[in-house]
Amino acid sequence: MSEYTDAVRFEGVSRSKKGCLYDVGFSVPKGTVMLLVGENGAGKTTLLNVLTGQYGADQGTVYLFGRPQSDDDPAERARMSVVFDTIPYGQSLNAKQVGKVFAGLYPQWDDEAYNRYLDIFSIGEKQVIKTYSRGMMQKLQIACALSHNAELLVLDEPTANLDPGSREIILQCLMEYMKDGERSILVSTNMPGELDRYADGATMIHKGRVVFSGEIDTILNSYGIVKCGPDEVSGIDRPDIIGIRHSRYSAEVMVKDRERVAARCPGMAIDPATLDDILVFTGAYGEEAAR
């Protein structure tokens, strides 16, 4: 494994068509799991498509393993594996045939590991893909992604169609994959609560812009939910407010620096926030805060 600090680094990536991105910049340090969080349509898949070479960017640079991304460098692509939001393999193939295709594509393909993952995920070798459930399709993609010894896994909502048991099995496999500390994962999700205990960092995208990016503990220590009366909301500085949820007799205000708000408004109760809370307040109640 070669030396680099960040497995992926986005610098000022912008794109104006088919899923807009505006000056996106963040990095996935080597050996970490980074969640890419955002509501539907926020730009997560677009960003991953730029990373995996499906889409082009109007501006900015994507660095992979410390070097600018290149379309003509097969060695660079061999170090990355991708799980797409929908299964991209021919529907008439079975798992065994898909394995053969991947064995031809990836020089470090490990057939033994692939068969082991098929066993773990209970996928029959001969079953044709078009007869799979959506969860099985997702599992097959993950089995392929884990079987060619990639240094970077890019996963686009990998647990979206999975039952809790299957989700747990897959997350355990991902954690086992991360054991040597040399590998990195960038995983997008709109349900971060399912994955945050396995992740080191989180980046949130909202309407194509990065809202925050950093270690999860730091983010969760900073954000908080102020519970107050409707009249007390005006006492909180506007720039601190992420979103406001009004109920009949009270209001909940998501703030991004809870220590500062606590210092300025000493009487208010501030609860810690989860990534799910931040996503809900940004997506559903952010507009109200902006007014």
Binding site: Q54, A78, P88, K100, Y106
Partner: protein, 275 residues
């Protein structure tokens, strides 16, 4: 590179197996035509074929039913042979060789496009350690592999069937007619595909649907051209060059090769293109 188009190879198998299935399904039709032409003289003579004259029967009323049925059938076949002989010849030639060739050049060409663009393998290949040039190369090879297999089978079967049923001259005409048809169909569909890719490049947001839509529509329309050309083009080739390498062939092959070279560059460009 050697193994990277295995996905397409699997798809090729599907196309070829459907192709064989097609022939098996229509085998009955081919068999009917074969028996019709083989027994044509017998049907022309009306009356009772030898098998009925010598028919001993069971000595019951069923014998009259059977003989009556056979006579009626022979009568009908003879009338049909008289009035439709010429068109049947043409139909037979087109059916034996023309239809499968047209169908499967279209299927194989579009299957490559569909495999790459619609079924999603393009996403896998774009993220995989494969350069755009290699991807274009694999698509081009896959296209010609499927066209090659399907064409070889259908031309061979067309030739053999017409050789067995009608005769050497007819078979020769079917054989060259098939090859000319393939060249024309592939040339014209390639031109349409180039146009489709070009239009897709002009309107990037609609690239996928536009390209596939235009390619398929125009390809389907194109199928009508060789339907009319099939017979006459073979006759023209016979007239101008007696099937030997002459001006007709030169023009056809030059246009064909030109479009393929152009298609290669367009395909290479398209493979490097990002949405």
């Amino acid at each position: 590179m050697t193994k990277m188009y295995r996905a397409l190879r699997y798809h090729d198998r599907l196309v070829v197996s459907r192709f064989i299935y097609f022939f098996m399904t229509f085998g009955y039709g081919a068999f009917f035509l074969w028996s019709f032409f083989k027994n044509y003289d017998g049907y022309r003579n009306l009356g009772m074929p030898e098998s009925i004259e010598n028919f001993e029967g069971t000595g019951t009323v069923l014998d009259y039913v059977y003989i009556g049925f056979r006579q009626q059938r022979n009568q009908w076949l003879a009338e049909m042979a008289d009035s439709y002989l010429n068109s049947m010849y043409r139909f037979c030639a087109f059916f034996l060789a023309g239809v499968p060739v047209l169908l499967f050049t279209f299927v194989s060409w579009s299957s490559v496009l569909f495999t790459d663009r619609q079924q999603g393998w393009n996403r896998v290949l774009k993220a995989a350690p494969v350069t755009p040039k290699d991807r274009a190369k694999s698509l081009f090879i896959a296209k010609w592999r499927t066209i090659g297999i399907c064409t070889a089978i259908s031309v061979a079967i067309g030739f053999l069937c017409s050789r067995l049923t009608i005769g050497a001259d007819f078979a020769e005409r079917v054989f060259f007619g098939s090859i000319i048809t393939v060249l024309i169909v592939v040339t014209v569909t390639t031109v349409w595909d180039i146009l489709g890719v070009a239009l897709g490049a002009l309107f990037p947001s609609a690239r996928l649907n536009l390209t596939i839509g235009i390619t398929c529509c125009l390809t389907m329309m194109t199928l009508a051209i060789p339907f009319f050309l099939f017979w006459e083009s073979a006759a023209w080739m016979q007239y101008t060059s007696n099937y030997i390498f002459g001006p007709g062939w030169l023009i056809l092959i030059a246009v064909f090769a030109g479009t393929q070279v152009l298609a290669w560059f367009v395909l290479k460009r398209a493979c490097a293109c990002k949405e």
